[in-house]
Symmetry: C2
Subunit: 154 residues, 2 copies
DNA sequence: TCAAAAATGAAAACCATTTTCAGTTACAGA
DNA sequence: TCTGTAACTGAAAATGGTTTTCATTTTTGA
């Protein structure tokens, strides 16, 4: 199921690149594949390392360029963590808010935030035009909690 | 009123440095003063420029070091914007959520978010331990909206 | 198959932040 | 008020992530 959903994601992304007028090079596909398969928010270097398994001649520059394009196409998003501000994760259609494990970087998407009323109230009383909202929950996933207990630290 | 509240804030911060065991040097006070007086989220360079008015011999290094200490003491917070991840703003006691103007960087604090239920639901079903939440509204303040209309661009 | 445009990667440049270190300063205690 | 000393400072150098440059390679439509 994780595999098939990552296949589907990759297919969608290939189509998005095509219809955006971008060529489907093997370097780009290697980067797409890494993020499509991952359930984590990864930084550029880690994406680079993993993508080189698929495409050993890949350069780090192309990773950055491909990520830039993915952001522009709305396929990936930047994830800000307390420790590191430049991680990238797949955008899951529909749900925009993230639960991020500060230890392993895995992300989960959730919905159910009802900020509409709050945003309207804020806009109404200040004249502010709210264009975007960021909501991100940060903590420790179940697995990391268990691992940290094993290691002793908390 | 803005002036007196910035005076009060500066006084609080001086006390916090003192009781944290940090010396009150003129370099530090210049940095504190800038953030105490500002209602914006500023980056290190802008803080440096403004602080040199008070303390011309100030070095940029000390700005970074003082901001670091302010974060540790909970007096300032890092503000993440789409354009720039390293701005700093005063922490307003009680309310932790920000409304940020993406154009001028001014920040307003708001409360009234009720995320408790959401966070419990998320934690319950996933075993995730939510340690922190980031909620930030991004948009355009009334003044910037007016100025942008005048200039033609939107 | 071929030409043109797009894309690539190695190397260099860039730039915000951090580290180093020798000199300066704040301040507790005399 | 003076003094000793640890804390602090700023100039300069180092660092490290990201971007730019540019000659070469690849993709793709004709
Ligand atoms: Mn950030
Ligand atoms: Mn809250
Ligand atoms: Zn984890
Ligand atoms: Zn504004």
């Amino acid at each position: 199921m994780a595999a098939s959903s990552s296949e589907a994601r990759l297919a969608r992304w290939r189509a998005a690149f095509k219809s955006g007028g971008y060529r489907l090079t093997s370097a780009r596909v290697a980067v797409l594949r890494v993020l499509a398969e991952s359930q984590q928010a990864l930084d550029a270097t880690r994406i680079f390392d993993r993508a080189r398994v698929y495409e050993p001649r890949l350069g780090l520059v192309t990773v950055y360029r491909t990520l830039e394009t993915m952001l522009a196409l709305g396929l990936a998003q930047k994830v800000h963590c307390p420790a590191q501000c430049a991680r990238y994760a797949a955008v899951e259609p529909g749900h925009n808010h993230l639960l991020v494990c500060r230890r392993c970087g895995r992300v989960w998407y959730f919905s159910g935030d009802d900020l509409g009323a709050l945003m309207q109230a804020v806009a109404g009383e200040s004249g502010f035009r709210v264009e975007d909202h960021w909501l991100q929950l940060i903590g420790l996933c179940a697995r990391c909690r268990a691992e940290m207990e094993t290691e002793g630290a908390v």
